[in-house]
């Protein structure tokens, strides 16, 4: 169903060739400072990649991300699609023979991407995370009744579907959910919502 992006793969191999010439440990140290991931003990057995369920949608494989992190290829890592496509299923972390916390490392790279304001290749995934946290910030709990519409609007899916006249399925789907009683509940603000606002202070948008 999904064909691999061979062009991206060629670019990647080229980058790896350059990387062997200028290894640089600073990037690895920066990431390891955010939490202990033990990325430097990776011996490239590729168990993570072989077990990963979403490699078909990735441009770099998980083992390649780790290798590039070790080599200090900051740009290639921060710009890759892999970190966003990762479903955080933790198969890689669970299976790694050296105890590298691969899924957690992917999270740390995502955070660094945002910190350094690198453009995100999968904006809709970031939009979903942001919309979710904004929603939690507002109610103290996630409330799906406003989360889903807000996400559809912000990600541009609503507009896209409206223009392409693709909303027929969604309306039917929404109606079925309503009919089955899955949306009939009211948001409940919690008493400690000030604390939640304090915790999620950076997620106003």
């Amino acid at each position: 169903m999904i064909t691999k992006d061979y062009k991206r793969r060629e670019n990647k191999i080229e980058q790896m060739h350059q990387a062997t010439l200028h290894p640089n440990e600073i990037f690895l140290q920066q990431l390891e400072a955010d939490g202990k991931f033990d990325a430097d003990v990776c011996f490239q057995c590729r168990k993570c990649t072989n077990g990963c369920p979403v490699t078909f949608a990735m441009d770099l494989y998980p083992d390649e991300v780790i290798r590039l992190v070790i080599l200090g290829q900051r740009e290639a890592v921060l710009k890759c699609r892999t970190i966003w496509v990762c479903a955080a299923c933790e198969t890689c972390t669970a299976r790694c023979p050296n105890g590298v916390k691969i899924a957690e490392l992917m999270d740390a790279i995502k955070e660094r991407t945002l910190l350094e304001r690198v453009p995100v290749p999968q904006p809709q995934i970031l939009t979903l995370h942001r919309t979710f946290l904004k929603n939690v910030r507002k109610w103290g709990r996630a409330f799906e009744g406003t989360l889903l519409p807000a996400y559809l609007l912000r990600s541009g899916q609503f507009l896209h579907k409206w223009r392409e006249r693709l909303w027929g399925w969604d309306i039917k789907f929404g109606w079925r959910l309503l009919y089955r009683g899955r949306f009939f509940h009211f948001p409940k603000k919690i008493r400690g919502k000030k604390e939640i606002r304090n915790i999620l202070i950076h997620h106003k948008k």
Partner: protein
């Protein structure tokens, strides 16, 4: 007499789209004499969004949940949502060593941490299994299912404390205890894509389609789950995924708690099952397990 008293942290989605799961857990706990007390004024654990883009917030949010739970006398906590289960246990491991967590959200250590129970593991303990088998009035004879555990309740093993994280057995044991036949299959803990269903539906369609395909190939009539995200992706989106694959799978998806309720004739089963989008009743009728009074 209540045999168990547990603190209960339902999580956000059990108040919304996964109401059926929440109601079935409360229903069977009542019938099994388990007293659940909700954590007072609990908040969201942050889920995938927080741990993806704001690690500090994900630890602080869970810290607040533990602060709230520390007011309770119960020393054990039941967490039906595997995502919350994973986040809570991750924070227990990570927070004491985390420099950035704000002091007011540190997990209170004086009383020690509550023991966090995943629902499937809780109901698969020896004591609960015996209690359940005493309550079974209508064994689920002839029902052939595959048990689908998903990711977060199992992995990584140092967080979940699961010994068989590649081949978990808790749901299989529960289902067998009810008289149904669990079929061994290789995709027990493969990922369904979870929240990617909104941002990358194509990925979820691929992953879940593979699950349906394998479930049908091993001869299962239905899938049993213990996770509301797995249930959403497998049940709610089934018609769409069938359209993507150009195949009809027609697999009803049951929560294990609904099956316990069905086998022990707990009232409310009809209400829980009727909120599924993939009709769960034809299979039960076919096997003679559905006789509404």
């Amino acid at each position: 007499m209540k045999i168990f008293e547990l603190a209960y942290y339902p999580g956000c989605s059990l108040q919304g789209t996964a109401k059926d799961y929440a109601e079935s857990i409360i229903g069977i706990c009542e019938s099994l004499d388990i007293q659940l007390t909700e954590v007072p004024d609990w908040n969201c654990c942050g889920a995938t969004a927080a741990h993806s883009i704001d690690r500090r917030a994900s630890l602080d949010l869970v810290g607040r949940i533990f602060r709230q739970a520390a007011q309770m006398p119960q020393s054990e906590m039941l967490v039906p949502c595997p995502m919350c289960f994973n986040r809570l246990k991750t924070a227990i491991l990570a927070q004491p060593f985390d420099q950035k967590t704000e002091d007011q959200y540190r997990i209170p250590m004086e009383k020690g941490f509550p023991k966090i129970w995943d629902t499937a593991n809780f109901f698969a303990t020896q004591q609960m299994m015996e209690t359940i088998s005493n309550k079974v009035q209508q064994p689920l004879k002839g029902l052939k299912v595959v048990c689908y555990y998903g990711c977060m309740a199992n992995r990584p093993s140092e967080i979940s404390d699961e010994t068989d994280f590649e081949n978990p057995q808790s749901l299989d044991r529960i289902v067998m205890n009810l008289g149904a036949t669990p079929i061994a299959w290789p995709f027990k803990t493969d990922c369904c894509g979870a929240t990617q269903v909104l941002s990358r539906p194509d990925i979820v369609s691929h992953l879940v389609g593979n699950l349906y395909d394998m479930a049908r190939r091993v001869g299962a009539q239905a899938v049993v789950v213990s996770c509301q995200m797995c249930h959403a992706n497998l049940d709610i989106y089934q018609e769409k995924i069938e359209a993507d694959w150009g195949r009809r799978f027609n697999l009803p998806i049951y929560y294990f708690s609904e099956l316990i309720g069905l086998a022990s004739n707990v009232s409310g089963v009809e209400k829980w099952l009727s909120s599924h989008l993939t009709d769960p009743f034809p299979l039960l009728r076919e096997l003679g397990l559905w006789n509404p009074t």
